[in-house]
């Protein structure tokens, strides 16, 4: 197997509305930053992997019109889109492109310009046909109201389920928001930067749907992320400290949007996320990691909702199930902690949906390369895990990065 490493990362600034640029131009900002970071030019890249959430901006196959801005002129290009996991899937695609030997150096490009479209309407298309069908069968419309909240409607059931199984309280959720948003304050690319935020501040935000308050939920961002991957051999020539992607794995579970409002079915509980555990186990095995709890130095779980940071910390096999709230209280997840979590500020601070899961990999790579600037964690990062979540609550993608290639 061929070694694959990240040699450059680029992000646009993420904000609610970028009216000065169109989709293609916004993405260019991240792409050019990645080239600059890698010290490469588009002529030195032989493939492009790209993706975003297609329905959100109302532009089908946006690379057909926009990719001219991304240095893709007459290059091989693959479009990979898988919902919330899109960015991760794009990163995985770029990994496989190099690992396959078919390509030597590729750029992964993922983005979302949520202000151009209607993300909640976009997300609701996931289930609108089902709603229409249920109404047609005579199901009481009042029972279907819970469908209306886009991703939040699903997340509250997941949060309640997780809280019940773990003993996580709303106070823990407040602390997660504080952890992420204060980290985000150190990340110049992050969207919601709230230095000095306290759990009390979060607890005072409006309740959306129990148990989630506005302070527990991601913003809708305009933003893009690009990452340049190459062979281990070439990476060592380009930089002293490349971030090797040791393995990637994704796992698709049974869809959990079947119950009323996404409450799950008898056999699928949206708070279980077995597919995340399976993907993590496979990724660690391929990466040669036997004891993730002790070997992983940093985690970037995909957590647009506060409870998910704790839930996925567990499902990424970084502690026992139900232990994450205690790990949070211990301070271990902080920037100066033993296993820092989301030093980027995470998805709860910045969510350009299609880009978000690639940004998890990008942050892990930057931390390993020592290029995270103000949000560089204190400890030396040798091994890191990056995650993405999405689909019908059922898709999970995991990547394991390290400062050395697979043995």
């Amino acid at each position: 197997m061929r070694d694959v490493a990240v040699v450059g990362v680029g992000l646009s600034k993420h904000v609610s509305k970028r009216r000065d640029v169109n989709i293609a131009e916004l993405v260019w900002e991240a792409v050019s930053a990645a080239y600059e970071d890698a010290g490469l030019t588009p002529g030195e890249v032989d493939g492009v992997i790209t993706g975003n959430m297609p329905a959100f901006e109302g532009v089908n196959l946006p690379e057909c019109w926009g990719a001219g801005h991304w240095g893709t002129y007459r290059k091989p290009l693959l479009r990979i889109t898988t919902g919330g996991t899109t960015g991760g899937s794009v990163g995985h695609g770029a990994f496989y492109a190099v690992a396959s030997g078919l390509f030597d150096t590729v750029i992964a490009i993922a983005f979302e310009k949520q202000s151009d479209g209607d993300s909640t309407a976009g997300l609701n298309t996931v289930i609108l046909a089902d709603i229409a069908a249920l109404l047609g069968f005579g199901v009481d419309p009042s029972l279907l109201l819970a469908f209306g909240g886009g991703a939040v409607g699903i997340a509250v059931y997941q949060a309640s389920s997780y809280m019940k199984s773990s003993g996580c309280t709303t106070h823990h959720l407040d602390k997660v928001s504080v952890l992420c948003r204060t980290n985000a304050a150190k990340n110049p690319h992050a969207h919601l930067q709230q230095p000095g935020l306290t759990p009390d501040d979060v607890a005072k935000t409006d309740l959306m749907q129990y148990p989630l308050r506005f302070g527990h939920v991601c913003p809708a961002s305009d933003g893009a992320c690009a990452m340049i991957l190459t062979t281990g051999e070439r990476a060592r020539k380009l930089t002293d400290r490349p971030a090797y992607i040791r393995s990637v794995a994704s796992c698709s579970d049974e869809g959990a949007l079947i119950g009323i409002g996404g409450s799950g079915t008898l056999n699928v509980d949206p708070g279980r996320q077995e597919s995340c555990k399976l993907a993590a186990a496979r990724a660690y095995e391929h990466a040669g990691i036997k004891d993730p709890r002790n070997e992983i130095d940093l985690a970037e779980p995909y957590a647009p909702f506060a409870h998910q940071l704790l839930m996925f910390y567990e499902r990424l096999l970084l502690c026992d199930e139900g232990e994450a709230p205690a790990v949070l209280n211990s301070g271990s997840m902080e920037m100066a902690g033993e296993l820092p979590v989301c030093p980027s500020g995470g998805v709860i601070s910045t969510n350009a949906i299609g880009a978000s899961a690639l940004e998890r990999i990008a942050e892990a790579a930057m931390q390993i390369m020592g290029r995270a600037g103000e949000h560089q964690v204190q400890k030396d990062v040798h091994k890191a895990v990056a995650h993405g979540w999405g689909g019908m609550v059922n898709l999970n993608v995991v990547a394991v990065l390290a400062d050395t290639p697979r043995g």
Binding site: D20, A24, Y35, G58, H69, A121, T125, L128, A129
Partner: protein, 153 residues
């Protein structure tokens, strides 16, 4: 297969969905639109290879460089190709017959390197013919400022 036989007469539901889109066009297209409102055709030019983009693009795809230079393009150009449309795509997304065929042309403006698509009003249209812009007398904005093309002579 048995399972398939049990699954016949599949129901269909319509999607009552009308999401709103609100695309940012970006500063380059804004300048183009501002020009069109004054009946000026503004294109962006790559400082490295000299390619002139119409409509303007912020980045030259070949050089991966910002196109910082602006040039005003003549109203005249050449028909690269045209098609007689006997149908159009209706609001239902299906092809509907037009009462009269209408010409659609792919036009290379003088001094530009990329192409514009617009209607063509000409009795004896031919590829390679010289055309000029017919401006819309009552445009609702920049998008319909160029009404169509007509022959130069």
């Amino acid at each position: 297969m048995k399972a398939d036989e049990d699954l016949q007469n599949v129901g269909r539901v319509g999607l009552p969905l009308a999401p709103a889109f609100n695309w940012s066009v970006g500063n380059w297209m804004e300048q183009f639109f501002d020009g069109l409102k004054e009946r000026k055709i503004m294109a962006s030019k790559c400082g490295l290879c000299g390619r002139v983009f119409l409509p303007p693009r912020m980045i030259c795809e070949r050089c991966f460089a910002k196109t910082e230079e602006w040039v005003e393009i003549p109203e005249t150009g050449t028909v690269e190709a045209f098609t007689a449309a006997h149908v159009r795509v209706g609001p239902d997304g299906e092809l509907a017959d037009l009462p009269e065929p209408q010409l659609i042309a792919l036009v290379k403006h003088d001094e530009a390197d990329t192409l514009l698509v617009a209607g063509l009003v000409a009795k004896n249209a031919s590829a390679g013919m010289r055309v000029r812009v017919v401006w819309n007398e009552t445009p609702s904005g920049a998008l319909d400022a160029i009404s169509c093309y007509e022959p130069m002579d």
